[in-house]
């Protein structure tokens, strides 16, 4: 049982690390703000779930798990909120998504 949990948590951790990394690469390589934001925010949430879930399995049933759960909940609430707010602020300020960027360049800074 414990070996199973261990393996499962390792898998989760590895996947989490991978998705975090993908998010990082995406944020660097994507062509414009909105696609970068997409890469960053999706993997932010997924990575957080996987990594914190993996650690939770390692920690077992303890106070630490509750704290981890709180952190996870917090991240899941705030991270998409920040992304949304940022995107809306950028859009209102006149940053156009990549699709129409061909007409007016990168948009104002």
């Amino acid at each position: 049982m414990s070996a199973l949990l261990d393996t499962l948590s390792w898998v989760l951790l590895t996947l989490g690390g991978l998705s975090v990394l993908i998010g990082g690469i995406g944020a660097l390589r994507m062509p414009d703000l909105y696609t970068r934001m997409h890469a960053a925010s999706v993997t932010d949430s997924l990575g957080a779930i996987l990594v914190l879930g993996g650690i939770m399995l390692q920690a077992g049933w303890s106070l630490a798990t509750i704290k981890l759960f709180a952190i996870l909940l917090f991240l899941l609430l705030t991270s998409p909120t920040s992304s949304y707010a940022l995107a809306s602020a950028a859009l209102l300020a006149g940053q156009r998504p990549f699709a129409d960027a061909s007409q007016d360049g990168e948009g104002p800074e």
């Binding site: 609430l77 949304y84 707010a85």
Partner: protein, 324 residues
Amino acid sequence: MIVMFGIFLLTLLVITAIAIVRTDNLFVAVMLMGIASLLIAANFFLLDAADVALTEAAVGAGISTVLFLGALALTSERERAKSWNRLLSFIVVAAAALILIYATFDKPRFGDPEAPVQVHVAPWYLEKTPEYIDIPNVVTAVLGSFRGYDTLGEVFVVFTAGIGVLFLLGGGKAGGAVPEEEIDEGLRHHLIPRVVGRVLIPFILLFGLYVQFHGEYGPGGGFQAGAIIAAAIILFALLEGENRALSVLPERVLLGLMACGPLLYGAVGLAGIIFGGNFLDYSVLSSNPVKGQQLGILLIEAGVGISVTGVLLGIFHAFAARDS
């Protein structure tokens, strides 16, 4: 392996620092400063300084960014001048750097348990804390009791900054071009942040109280808690607008908090004298010296928390009120 993590973080830190100096967009510089704070804090954590990491994150990455942004909103975002006296500055800086690098060669080895720092005063704290004060967090014990007088001074530094900003910016508002109602609505039209923020604020406050009263057992204490509670109320002010926040916590209340925190701390110190000990001697506060110490630390941490909350909010409001 952890050593490598540390080196990596420090390298990122140096890159960030150089970028801060080079950019001419002050907004970007402030953002990078936030990053630098996070990196330093993570590094403090690697170096076993949990309390310091918590403070640096709350103060450096949180409050400091908010204050810088508040000031930028009132001034300008662009740095228009080139540096001057580059050569002279460079020489001064390089001279100081050479002295520092010169000094590194006789330094005790990093992490050496036999270094003078580790064998003289510090072991006494680690050894005597369980006996005299009996709380797990030695940092809190030293901060609150052994070197409590420093902490008293620190509270007064914060207080001085608070009254200083109020003295400079309080009263006589500078008229702006933006209509009051419009500037004051905060982020109220952003529905999602507003709902999420409202849900979170009580939990942040709760967490602040936890940090305040858990400071004897884990990382935390008055400063960190004060910064977190202030951050929660700043969040409220951001979401609901300055006036709503001020109606919840009017300026007079803030001023009261600002002044009562230091007074509470001082009163605990004077109680030491009244009950026959020295100033800031908490042992005499209770018939059991250890209990007295714990009570004293609890009270002064409360004083610290109150004053930090009051001062940070007071400063934030002073900046925000200038806006309208």
